[in-house]
Symmetry: C2
Subunit: 289 residues, 2 copies
């Protein structure tokens, strides 16, 4: 098997092509909305969730074309959440993916509508293929008891001292639910997915979901705005509770390493087929953006 | 057959009970978000779209329990659109359904998230029943080429003189798509829906969708804030193009009457079973709120 790093680049190109094909054309009426949607999704982003979906597909012996819609849908949900998260009434962030945030480039009203329409498009993409199981997985991960619930917890925690347990609960929702969904949707694509495999992949996803967030918090302290593509120090400026703030920087890094180790342990039975997920886990805890 | 007016009250009670059961409990974490979602949906609203869905179900010989999820989903999408439409960056409306708009009651950030989560819940409700066909109908009616596209056209038209053709295009999207979807979802619930029946119901829906909007515009001129439950004159204050502004008040009313007549004509083959839809059409062109 070739190194996943090479396949990862091909998967990124693949999902970007698939997203481009599923987004309405920029010339289509209403053009400003369609331009804002395309701007918010294309040309930027690490595509971590699609990569996790494809890598989970490898672990389960799926061909990538079984997952193109899932990979697009999850990235559309992620993009919608970023557009709304950056709004003036939310985090009021001017920079995203190294470019002006959507509300800076198109205005707040259009950014609200673009986020709304990106969410709808995610479900449209899956509904057109008649995949009700994936739809349910993604919808439950997105809503008030998933990612959006995590954003509400984040709002409620702003400027407050919260406990480590509350912070973990927040992140299990805000980032964790979508990362889990990326991998669960690959399981959904297998007609009779083995429960043991599903549980192991879920354990993997839970661990790297948290590790991903800890890394984000660490980068907010240590990262470089030009590299991370968003404003360094923004969490601290917003009075947000972060792992480094609650645990100390070194303990936070060590916690991420422990989660990483348990994530790898969960992959053992997949042997060589788990190579992609292993690579993704390493990327997540070591990335510098 | 008993008059639809009596059944309408029962359908409203039915969909409100179904919505209550499908919305997360107010005590569930994150509580503010769940309270805002419930506030935005329950205790208010004419439930026009659910009523159209149930009435179309009667025309097609369906039992109402085949349509409870569809009726809830479409009302959730409608509620989400109102919450976002009223935001300061959008129409900046303080009053909705006779109460403070969600952003006034819960703050802008929570209102953004509540709208987001209501959209997700609509799709979750349908996905849990495995109904990908209804989901596709609703998603296509909601997104950038449907209702949200109409809102973007509305934004683009603000403060501008637009033609009657452009106004109709705008409303066919902004209000029309969801009204059409309410009726199409009833067709989706019939395993083998007759194409002729579907086309006739679609013609009905297209007509009353436009008539509904014209009535809205007329009420903005003639209505009473206390009765309509939102700010009278708001469209004019926002420099919005309306039917009365473009056609004159009397011509607008006459246009609504013509659409009403064609809507009734489309129902002819349904005979007695079309009674509910006929009643709804009458309600839509004559309502005072």
């Amino acid at each position: 098997m070739s190194p996943f790093k090479d396949r990862a680049a091909a998967y990124v190109a693949r999902v970007e092509k698939a997203l481009d094909a599923r987004l309405p054309a920029a010339e289509k009426n209403p053009v400003t909305l369609h331009q804002a949607m395309r701007y918010s999704v294309l040309d930027g982003g690490k595509r971590v969730r699609p990569l996790l979906c494809y890598a989970a597909g490898e672990a389960l012996g799926l061909e990538p074309d079984a997952l193109d819609d899932a990979a697009c849908a999850i990235e559309l949900i992620h993009a919608f959440s970023l557009v709304h998260d950056d709004l003036p009434a939310m985090d009021d962030d001017a920079l995203r993916r190294g470019k002006p945030a959507t509300h800076k480039a198109f205005g707040t009203a259009t950014a609200i509508l673009a986020g709304d329409a990106l969410q709808t498009l995610a479900f449209t993409v899956l509904a057109r293929r008649g995949n009700a199981r994936m739809l349910q997985t993604l919808a439950e991960a997105t809503g008030s008891e998933g990612m959006t619930g995590g954003q509400a917890m984040d709002l409620a925690a702003e400027g407050k001292q919260i406990s480590l347990t509350e912070l973990e609960e927040l992140h299990r929702h805000k980032t964790g639910c979508l990362i889990r969904a990326a991998i669960r949707m690959a399981c959904d694509a297998v007609p009779e997915c083995d429960k043991a495999a599903r549980d192991r992949l879920d354990r993997f996803a839970g661990n790297i979901g948290l590790a991903f967030q800890i890394r984000d918090d660490v980068l907010d302290v240590e990262g470089d705005t030009a590299v991370i593509g968003k404003t360094q120090g923004a969490d601290i400026a917003h009075g947000k509770s972060t792992y480094p703030a609650l645990m100390g920087l070194d303990a936070a890094k060590q916690h991420a390493d422990e989660l990483y180790a348990d994530a790898l342990a969960a992959l053992e039975p997949f042997g060589e087929h788990g190579q992609g997920l292993r690579w993704m886990a390493g990327y997540i805890v070591q990335r510098d953006k």
